[in-house]
Symmetry: C2
Subunit: 518 residues, 2 copies
C-alpha cells in the first residue's frame, strides 16, 4: 500500500501516510503490561533474580499471583552487576579476587551502557528510581590503534575520521567530474551532490581535501587558535589516506553509528549494578538467595523445583502452579528439566559467547587532564580490543577506573585461562600503547571477570544464528505446559538488558493468558 501511495502522490503523500501509519517505531515496548485477575490462589515460581526474573515477579504479583523467586547468587541482578572496591568474587576454578578499588569505584563486568531506544529498561529505571547519567560512547578525542598503521602509533579518532570522510568526499567528487554518475543522476542532481560532498567532506572550492583552516576545523590544528598576540591558528596536515585506510577507522565509525551505540546513551549513577539493586528492592521478600536449582518437574498440575541451599547444603523444594524460568541456557541444559523434547533440544542448541572485562583503577584521571579525553573508547587491534574511560565522575580528583579490556572470541578464552593477576598484568601491558609512561605508573588496583568462568552463567550471552533461530526460537519461547522461559536468550535483543525485559513481559503476558484459560 505504501508503495502505491508513493508512486501516485509523490513523497509528500508517502510521508504523511507513514506518519499516520506510525512508521518507524523505536521499540516494541508499549508500556507496562496491564495484567490483572489472576485465578484465586494461583502461584508462580520464578527461577532467577536477574532482571527478567524480577520483572516477571513484579508484574505477576501486581496481577494477583503468589510469587516466589529462587536465586543462585546471594544478591539480586544476575549479569546486571557492578564490582565495587571491597567486594569479593570467586570464579569457577576457585580464584578469588578482593577488589582493591577506592570506595565507590567499580567495574561493570556485564552490561555497561543503555541506548535511548531501550524504552523498557528506561521506563523501569525511572519507575524504580534509578538515577541515570549520560554514557559517552563516541569520543572524537579518543584514540585508534592499529599495529599496521602509522608505525603502530595510536592516532586520534578525530583526525582519522575527518581524513577518511574528507578523502571519500574528494574521491566521489572526482568520479562525478569524470562523468561516472551521468547515467544515474541529472546534471542538477550531480551539482547538488557535489555541494553536499564539499560541505560534508570540508573540501576546498576545487573539491579537494587539503591542509587548511577548513579541514583543520574538524581534524584539529597544528597550533590551535588562541587569544592575544599569538592567537592565530596554524592548520594541520591531513594524514596519508592509505595509512588512514590501514588504521581501520572506518570500522570504528561504523560501530559508533550503530543503533546500539548512537547518542544518547546512559548509565546508572554509581554503577550498572544499581539497576539490579533497584529491581531487587521491588521484589524484596520474594527472593530465596543461595538457591541452586537442580531439578524442575511439572507433574500433578504444578511445577516443582528442587534446589540446594548453598549456604547450608540442605536440599529443598519450591512448588507453584506455574514457572517462569530465566536460568541461562548453558546452566539450564545441565538441570533435569521436565519439558517437551522440542524445548530440551532448543535449550541445548544455543551456545554462549565468552567475554572478559578487566577494570584498572588509576591514581588520577590523567586521560582527562593530560589528554582531554572525557569518557569514550580507544580501540586497538590488540587482544584487549578497547579501553574505555569512565563517563561518571568526570573532572573529579582521585582515582578513576578504566575499562582496560573488553575481549571477544578467541582472545577472551585466552584471558579466561589466565589468573586474575596475569590478566591485569597483560592488560596493563597491552593498553600502555595508548598512554605510554602513564598507564602502568598510575595503576593502583585491578579486577577482572571472565564470563566463561562465572558460575551462574558459564558464559556471556546466547549466540543465536539464522539456523538456530529458524529451528528452535519459537519452541524456546513457547509456554511449555506450565513453564515459560524468559531472558535475553528468549529475545532478538540478545546480550542486552532490554532483551531480557521485553522477553519477560512477553512471557508473563502469555503465561497469564494460559492461566486464565486453564
Amino acid at each position: 500500500m505504501l508503495r502505491t501511495i508513493g508512486m501516485i502522490g509523490g513523497s509528500l503523500a508517502l510521508y504523511q501516510a507513514m506518519e499516520v501509519l506510525g512508521h518507524a517505531k523505536e521499540t516494541q515496548f508499549a508500556g507496562p503490561p496491564k495484567l490483572s485477575g489472576a485465578p484465586a490462589g494461583a502461584s508462580v515460581l520464578v527461577l532467577g533474580a536477574g532482571l527478567a526474573g524480577m520483572l516477571a515477579a513484579f508484574e505477576l504479583r501486581k496481577a494477583g499471583y503468589k510469587v516466589q523467586i529462587l536465586e543462585y547468587n546471594n544478591r539480586p541482578g544476575g549479569r546486571n552487576w557492578s564490582l565495587y572496591g571491597g567486594d569479593t568474587y570467586t570464579e569457577l576454578g576457585g580464584e578469588t579476587q578482593k577488589v582493591g578499588f577506592a570506595p565507590g569505584n567499580y567495574l561493570n563486568p556485564g552490561p555497561w551502557r543503555i541506548p535511548y531506544h531501550h524504552r523498557t529498561l528506561l521506563h523501569y529505571c525511572k519507575a524504580f528510581g534509578v538515577a541515570l547519567e549520560p554514557f559517552i560512547q563516541l569520543n572524537h578525542q579518543a584514540l585508534v590503534h592499529n599495529s599496521k598503521a602509522f608505525g603502530g602509533k595510536p592516532m586520534p579518532y578525530r583526525d582519522l575520521s575527518a581524513d577518511f570522510e574528507g578523502n571519500v568526499a574528494e574521491l566521489l567528487g572526482k568520479a562525478i567530474d569524470n562523468r561516472g554518475l551521468d547515467s544515474q543522476f541529472s546534471a542538477e542532481d550531480q551539482d547538488k551532490l557535489k555541494e553536499a560532498l564539499r560541505t560534508w567532506g570540508l573540501l576546498d572550492k576545487d573539491m579537494r581535501y587539503v591542509k587548511g583552516n577548513r579541514s583543520s576545523r574538524r581534524r584539529g590544528f597544528e597550533r590551535p587558535s588562541g587569544g592575544g598576540v599569538d592567537g592565530s591558528p596554524i592548520p594541520s596536515d591531513p594524514l596519508p589516506f592509505k595509512d588512514v585506510l590501514d588504521s581501520g577507522v572506518w570500522a570504528v565509525i561504523s560501530q559508533h553509528m550503530s543503533i546500539d551505540h548512537q547518542t544518547t546513551m546512559f548509565q546508572p549513577v554509581g554503577g550498572m549494578g544499581m539497576i539490579g539493586k533497584a529491581f531487587g528492592k521491588q521484589v524484596e521478600g520474594l527472593v530465596t538467595f543461595n538457591a541452586k536449582v537442580t531439578k524442575i518437574s511439572q507433574a500433578g498440575g504444578a511445577v516443582t523445583a528442587t534446589y540446594t541451599d548453598t549456604a547450608t547444603g540442605a536440599v529443598k523444594e519450591a512448588k507453584a502452579d506455574y514457572c517462569v524460568c530465566t536460568i541461562p541456557l548453558g546452566i539450564l541444559s545441565q538441570i533435569e528439566l521436565d519439558a517437551s523434547g522440542g524445548m530440551l533440544a532448543a535449550i541445548a542448541a544455543v551456545p554462549y559467547s565468552n567475554s572478559v572485562k578487566v577494570g584498572l583503577e588509576m591514581k588520577t584521571r590523567f586521560w582527562e587532564e593530560e589528554n582531554a579525553i572525557y569518557g569514550g573508547i580507544s580501540f586497538t587491534d590488540r587482544p584487549i580490543s578497547m579501553i574505555s574511560y569512565p563517563s561518571g565522575g568526570m573532572h573529579s580528583d582521585g582515582p578513576g577506573v578504566i575499562l582496560g579490556a573488553y575481549t571477544f572470541g578467541a582472545a577472551s578464552y585466552k584471558f579466561a585461562g589466565m589468573s586474575p593477576d596475569e590478566r591485569v598484568r597483560t592488560v596493563l601491558e597491552m593498553g600502555s600503547v595508548f598512554h605510554p609512561g602513564r598507564y602502568k605508573e598510575q595503576f593502583t588496583a585491578g579486577a577482572s571477570v571472565a564470563w566463561s568462568r562465572v558460575p551462574y552463567t558459564l558464559g556471556c550471552c546466547a549466540q543465536w544464528n539464522e539456523e538456530t533461530r529458524e529451528e528452535h526460537y519459537q519452541t524456546l519461547v513457547a509456554v511449555d505446559d506450565r513453564i515459560v522461559l524468559a531472558g535475553e536468550h528468549a529475545s532478538y535483543i540478545g546480550c542486552w538488558m532490554e532483551g531480557a525485559l521485553l522477553s519477560s513481559l512477553d512471557a508473563v503476558t502469555r503465561l497469564h493468558k494460559r492461566a486464565l484459560e486453564a
Copy 2:
C-alpha cells in the same frame, strides 16, 4: 624538516618525530600564568566583570597588584549568564521580561556549551568549583527539517545520516568498479578502500546500500527487535537519496563533526551562569557594580576611568597605574578613550554579530518520554534555525526548558525587532513543525534575549574577517601605553568563553612585563 623525515624514513619515522615535536596540541593554554613580583604598590583597573576581566583581576592580584573592577551590570559574568525563573531583564527599548520558568529552570542567552579542548575554561571551572555535566550536541534521534524535502516532514538525523553515508559509499564503490580510481590507487589499495566502504557504509556483499538488517542496524528498523514470540525485527526502507540530499543533512553532519561541537562537550550543572558566579566569588570585594564607564584617560602616568553609578546617578572616578579593558568594542567605541589612533581605528573597525535566543518552558519533557530524544538539537531551515533539548535533568518529571530558537543573521534582526511576547509566539509556531500537537499545548512560559538589544554589549560578539584581522588585530591586542584590551574580541576563538580567557591571560602576562620594565 617533517617533510624530509617523511620522505626518507616513511611513516614510522614521521609519526615518531611528530610525537617528539609535540604535534597536534589541543590548546594554547599551558596552565595558569606564573606572574609574581608586581612593583610595590602597583595597581590595575579592570573594566568589565565578564570572564576576561575577572580572570585578569584574579591573576593580577595573585601577582601582587592592587586590583579594582568596574562593572556595568549588577552581577558578575557579562555574557556568561543564565536567566532563571523569577529573574527580571530589561532590554534596550525598555521591554521588561519577568521570567516565568519554574524554580531552577533557565535559559542560557549567551554561551551554552563547552568543548573538551577549551582547556583554560575547564581548568578554571575545576579550580573554582564549577560542577560540569555532559552537554549532548549530536543526537541521532533528533530531527532535521527542511521545507524542500520530504514534503516538509522532519526526519530523524539517524535515518538521514545513515542513508547519506550509505549512498556515498555505494556510489564511490561503483566508481571504483568503473575503474575511475585506477590512476591513483593500486588494485590492492582499491580493494582495501572497497572493504572500508562496505563496512563504513553498511553495503551488502554486492556493494549496494539496500533495505535489510544490515542497514537497519544503523538507520532503525520498521519493527525493532523485541522479546518472545514477536521478537524478530523487520528492516526499514532507505529513503530516496535525492530527498536525502535535499534535506541538507550533510550540513548537519558537518556541523556536528566540527571541532567546536565534537564529543565530549560540557555544561555547568544548573546553568552556564554558574561560571560567572564562581568567577565572581573569586574576585569578591574587588568589583564595583552598576558602574557605567564614560571616559578613560591615561595621563600623568596613570589610567583614570570616569563612570556613572547607575543606581544613584553620581559621577565618580577610578584610578590605577594600569588598565585591562574588557568592554565590548561596540560599547568601547562610544566611550571617550585616550589611546593611539591605531587602537581607536581598530576598536571602530570590528562590527558585532547579532543573535536571538528564546527559551520555552514545557509542562513535561514529552520529547524524552514520547520521542526518545535526550538532549541534542533538531535543525530546520526556518528562521529559528534549531531547537535544542535540555542536557540537564534528563529523565526527570516536571517542566523542562527547550531552547526554542537560536537565530543568526537577518533572522536575528527580525526577531530582535519583535516584542518578547511576539518572539515567543513566533518561535512556538515555527518550532511546532518538530512536535505538532504537543509543542504549543505543553508550553508554560517563555523568555528571550536579543543580543543587539543587550545594553552592555549591543551585540553578540566581534565579527572579524581576514582583512580586519590583517589590518587591526595586532594593534588591538598590543599594550597601548598603560592600557591593554582583553575579551573574546581580542582572540581568534571569537564568541567563545575560551577566547576571552586566553586573551585575558595573554594580556595580563604582557601587561605585567610592561609594568616590570617601567
